[in-house]
Amino acid sequence: MDYRMPLYIQLQDVIVKRIEEKKYLPGEAIPSERKMAETYGVNRMTVKRAVERLVDEGYLVRKPGAGTFVAKRDNKKIDFDYALEADNVGISAMLRKTDITLTNKVLGKGGVQGNHYLNYQLCLPMSETVWGIERVRLGNGEPFAIECTFVPEKYFEDIEKFDFAKVSLYDYMDAKGHLPVHFTQKLVVCNADDKAAELLKLKKGTAIFLIEYQGADQDDQVVEYTRSYMNPSFTEFRYNAESD
């Protein structure tokens, strides 16, 4: 970029670069216009112009009263996470209805220490900390899945700083160079226990899907263990098998 170019074009370039370098992740807010004006010593009108152009081009999305956010790649598909959609995965969860707006709510997150089962699933010695997040997935505001994801904290040291109600966990993991690409999966049907029933708004004992998976990155390091409880009235599963 030539320094003699108009400032708003230079600024546009800066923002796009940040998105491409994954310094700003899809769903994440970019700095406010005031802040950017300050940082780059430019007029606020210049910032406004740059942002407006990027909104028009689909890089950014404005949410009135909340700020300006990096657009998600595909608003319809993305939040039904990657592990259930990737090519090298056996089973895919399908929503029974289309045109459902998916949202997430974070129930809890943080480090877990001394849980042998989680360390075992992530192939980590007990000296390592596991970081976990529990989310409810909602379709048109109705809960259809509870998802607990655990990752080795050592690969994701700044993970606490991100809001995974908005940012996709996989985009974040990708940005850290640890996108899961190989998976194990296990699907069973079980009864909703007290907690699952309450969160999914079902009667206790209702049959629900439990899907567990592990994901390993391109270097075969296990970087994810997830268990997800799904309400069967929203979802069904499909898979294609082949013979050798």
């Binding site: 995965v89 056996g90 089973i91 129930l107 809890g108 997150k109 943080g110 877990v112 849980n115 042998h116 089962y117 989680l118 360390n119 075992y120 699933q121 192939c123 980590l124 010695p125 007990m126 976990g132 997040i133 529990e134 607990c148 190989h182 998976f183 194990t184 999966q185 296990k186 699907l187 069973v188 049907v189 079980c190 009864n191 909703a192 226990d193 907690k195 004992g205 209702t206 049959a207 629900i208 899907f209 439990l210 592990q214 390993a216 075969d220 296990v222 069967p232 069904e236 599963f237 499909r238 898979y239 294609n240 098998a241 082949e242 013979s243 050798d244």
Partner: protein, 253 residues
């Protein structure tokens, strides 16, 4: 909100304990009191963790006797086509296969959408029940309706459908090699016939698996509709590298 409650944490620890100590199906599990002492938690926490494992189908409760490790599940590989008997041989379970009915049917409008064949097509319809031995009892766990076009397998009735897998018959008797399957898994509720056949209450949740098997040329070999006892089945994709890593780390934990 805390990420894992005490009972959830303990349920994880118990799952690990079962793996580490290679606890086998049917083995008696430690009492609430023993575990409360061992893990330094309240008995109520142990009870709650045990209940979670029961809901997940990992352990079983017997009235006035205690808790026991549950049976294994019959695993369907999400990637690889295997017949039901091949799956069972894999884990060394003993099964019996019972032919309930053999019919010749014609595709009607409703079936047409499922088998993806025009109405009027002649099909062999085979209804079979699969039973496994568990605790000295023969337990029905699956009802399977298989539809095979007559044009693919003429005079199918002459084969022993209780002793042989349909795949083997198609392979060896008709030279049709199953190559690809497209399956859907859903939860359904037992109707009267299913309840009676599977020895469960009416409206018990069952796992429904349905789909079509194709050969290498894209011919439809069969359409299967199977309902199964949910506690006996799982659908899995395995990964050797990850499993090797887990095996290695288990020693050190």
């Amino acid at each position: 909100m805390k990420l894992l409650n005490k009972d959830e944490f303990l349920a994880d620890e118990l799952k690990y304990y079962f793996i580490k100590n290679n606890i086998q199906p049917g083995m008696k599990l430690p009492s609430e009191r023993e575990l409360a002492e061992q893990y330094g938690v309240q008995r109520a926490t142990v009870r709650s963790a045990y209940r979670m494992l029961e809901e997940e189908g990992i352990i079983e409760i017997q009235e006035r006797s205690g808790r026991y490790m549950g049976h294994e599940r019959i695993v369907t590989d999400l990637r690889q086509i295997k017949s039901f008997s091949e799956k069972l041989n894999h884990i060394g379970m003993r099964i019996e296969n019972k032919l309930l009915a053999f019919e010749l049917v014609e595709v009607d409008k409703q079936l047409s959408g499922k088998v993806k064949l025009p109405i009027g097509t002649s099909l062999n319809k085979i209804t079979r029940v699969r039973k496994v031995w568990w605790k000295e009892e023969l337990l029905p766990i699956l009802i399977e309706y298989a539809y095979v076009p007559e044009s693919i397998a003429d005079k199918l009735i002459k084969y022993d459908l209780e002793e042989n897998s349909l795949f083997d018959i198609l392979r060896n008797g008709y030279g049709r090699i199953p190559k690809r399957e497209e399956q859907i898994i859903e939860i359904v509720y037992a109707d009267e016939f299913e309840a009676k056949t599977l020895k469960v209450d009416k409206m018990t949740p069952l796992v429904l698996k349905e789909g079509i098997t194709y050969d290498g040329e894209g011919n439809i070999l069969q359409y299967i509709h199977a309902v199964m006892n949910k506690d006996w089945v799982s659908f899995e994709q395995r990964n050797e590298q990850i499993e090797q890593k887990m095996g290695a780390v288990l020693y050190g934990l």
